[in-house]
Symmetry: C2
């Protein structure tokens, strides 16, 4: 098996794009290549994610992006796995390069829905759930994650102020991130006073609707080692798992089985232990999701991550920084760009480019990206080269 | 590199489904596994194609299919490349198994749009073209392929009766295929008298709007050789290419560059020559597309495939049978099921299951699947084991 390096990664500012998805994807792809020191003609395959491109009346966007990059002959496909689309695309890129089928691949995720009204956007997002059993009956993601939050509170006594600690921390981190949708800190009072969305989740428990684009360039180091101009990240693990999608068919709602399985696989692949990891970017589409991620992946015993968060353990200066970027909660969550965006944070942290949110010399990082309420999960582990 | 075998393949009858896409996908997956002699728990990854699942309000369909199969923990993703979606998915499955990352993978494509009216269906299909430069301005696929047909007629003198020969042949083949959308032969008179759609293309130059589903199971023979109950097909080549998507930016409209490149790669990979191939399943979304495929892939010199077709060379009893299944033209074209459906024909021909369309002991077959007007193309070559 060949080694696989992340040679470059870049994103735009998440929020509201005037660019179309294809335009934004092309720009971040060029930025990621530029950061790597590579050119479009080095790329052998383009894995695009653009789950809701149909909202822009555009499917089959890979050839359009490749044409804009000046490499129309390069094959492409679009990979969708709801909110875990671009981490699923990264997995494909990893397999192609690790298997020796390609020397370099481009992963690019883009999403734009801000031209639609809230009902239309929500309807698109809800298609990631089980239509026949969930979304058709009115269950959208705030309601589904509220169900998970309620179960966790019931079993472990998790408190609103502990969920609020996730929101306050992630907004504080995003305030130092020029890529973030929200760049203002919030207080616990603001959190606690925010409007209910789906009990027990309030407005500040929920990530925003964001447009955005992010790209990752992966390479075989044997072919490109001498040309790279940034510090690369070795992919120590690229692991995915599925689970029963619809909540009503699960036996336990206090965790996501796909996160548990994907993390187990990733730690097995990497031969690392939880304590080796310097920081995490996890899928905090809602505050409860960050708590579930920390417990499901074995960083905290079940029922203990919320209190640890409230005590500051996962803050920038804590013993295990979580979502230094601001996470989906505050950096934003443009569905198909989210997984690739997590890798941008790893790249910037490893390259000392993270400004006021820079961690002191991290060398191992983990990204965790969930599809919907955990029908899919991808976990990647990266090592600074 | 590990060898990769197609162990089983199955499809439903293309046409109009009462099943939803997810239901149909699950059924054909079970049929393909049953033909192989394998069980869902043998599968390590599911690659779904369902380009227009959003028309059924369902994205992220992989976990739903895997849950119905009883393997919810198996990872999945959805792969889109317009009309070449499920051949792009087959390529991913090939890479995973050939690279040693998986022992067995499921490829399943499904599409259902028949619950929509014609305008809505056409609008979805048109999203495979370049929205900014083609579909927004009213160019849908009949018009775009009419442009290609016109260029070919202008340069090579291709005649309506020669395009008609493609339609008559493929309807004749489909009359022997219980999976086909259309199972009635047509005459040249019917063809010539059919209504104009986009000059020079008439109704019988065009494939129908079909619902449908098809599945392919690929395996590492070292792991499953002793359990298989059908004749497997070794994948000798799995090749993809892209090209400039929008017609107005191309320098030549008498062929599809992506077909040329993908076929070159496939023949290089397989170390075979054109003359070794016993039959082809090619992408005949319009009659002209079959002519372009035969010329672009080097089976006929440019400008000669239409006459050869009219002379019967590509008929069931001809020297190079093309689309014994009836092709997209008459078997039908449910976008995301089409590429996998082509492999079903290869599987049935290699297993002597093709009834009145059975070819005499074919041992090498090629499938050719185009995305849109050739922004993408996949070519696979299979050898009977």
């Amino acid at each position: 098996m060949e080694k696989v390096w992340v040679a470059g990664a870049a994103m735009n500012r998440f929020g509201k794009m005037t660019d179309t998805g294809r335009e934004a994807a092309t720009k971040v792809a060029l930025d990621a290549l530029d950061r790597a020191g590579l050119e479009p003609k080095d790329i052998g395959y383009t894995f695009v994610s653009n789950a809701f491109g149909i909202a822009e009346k555009q499917a089959h966007v890979g050839p359009l992006i490749n044409t804009s990059l000046g490499i129309p002959e390069v094959p492409s496909c679009t990979i969708e796995s709801a909110c875990s689309s671009s981490s699923a695309a990264l997995h494909e890129a990893f397999v192609h390069v690790a298997g020796g089928f390609l020397d370099a691949a481009l992963v690019v995720g883009a999403e734009k829905l801000s031209h639609l009204d809230t009902l239309a956007s929500t309807s698109y997002f809800a298609m990631g759930a089980d239509y026949a059993y969930e979304s058709r009956n009115g269950a959208t993601f705030p309601g589904l994650y509220a169900t998970l939050a309620t179960a966790h509170m019931h079993r472990y006594g998790t408190k609103a102020e502990e969920l609020g600690a996730v929101a306050v921390k992630n907004h504080a981190n995003a305030a130092h991130n020029p890529h973030a949708h929200f760049q203002k800190p919030i207080t616990m009072e603001t959190y606690l006073g925010s409007a209910p969305v789906a009990w027990p989740l309030k407005l500040y428990d929920c990530c925003p609707f964001s447009d955005g684009a992010a790209a990752v360039v992966v390479v075989n180091p044997e072919k490109f080692r001498n040309r790279l101009k940034a510090v690369p990240a070795l992919i120590r693990a690229s692991a995915r798992s599925g689970s029963i999608a619809a909540l009503q068919d699960r036996t336990d709602l206090t965790g996501l089985p796909a996160s548990q399985l994907a993390a187990e696989k990733a730690f097995r692949q990497s031969k690392l232990e939880r304590k080796d990891i310097d920081f995490l970017e996890v899928h905090d589409c809602f505050t409860i999701a960050e708590i579930l991620a920390l417990e499901d992946m074995g960083f905290y015993p079940k029922g203990s991550a919320a209190r640890a968060t409230a005590e500051g353990e996962t803050a920038l200066g804590g013993k295990l920084p979580v979502n230094p970027s601001g996470g989906l909660k505050a950096k934003g969550h443009p569905v198909s760009a989210t997984g690739a965006g997590q890798v941008v944070e790893v790249f910037e942290q490893f390259n000392g480019m993270a400004g006021k949110r820079q961690l002191p010399g991290p060398s191992l990082a983990l990204t965790h990206n969930v599809g919907a309420t955990g029908g899919s999960c991808s976990v990647h582990i990266f090592e600074r080269v």
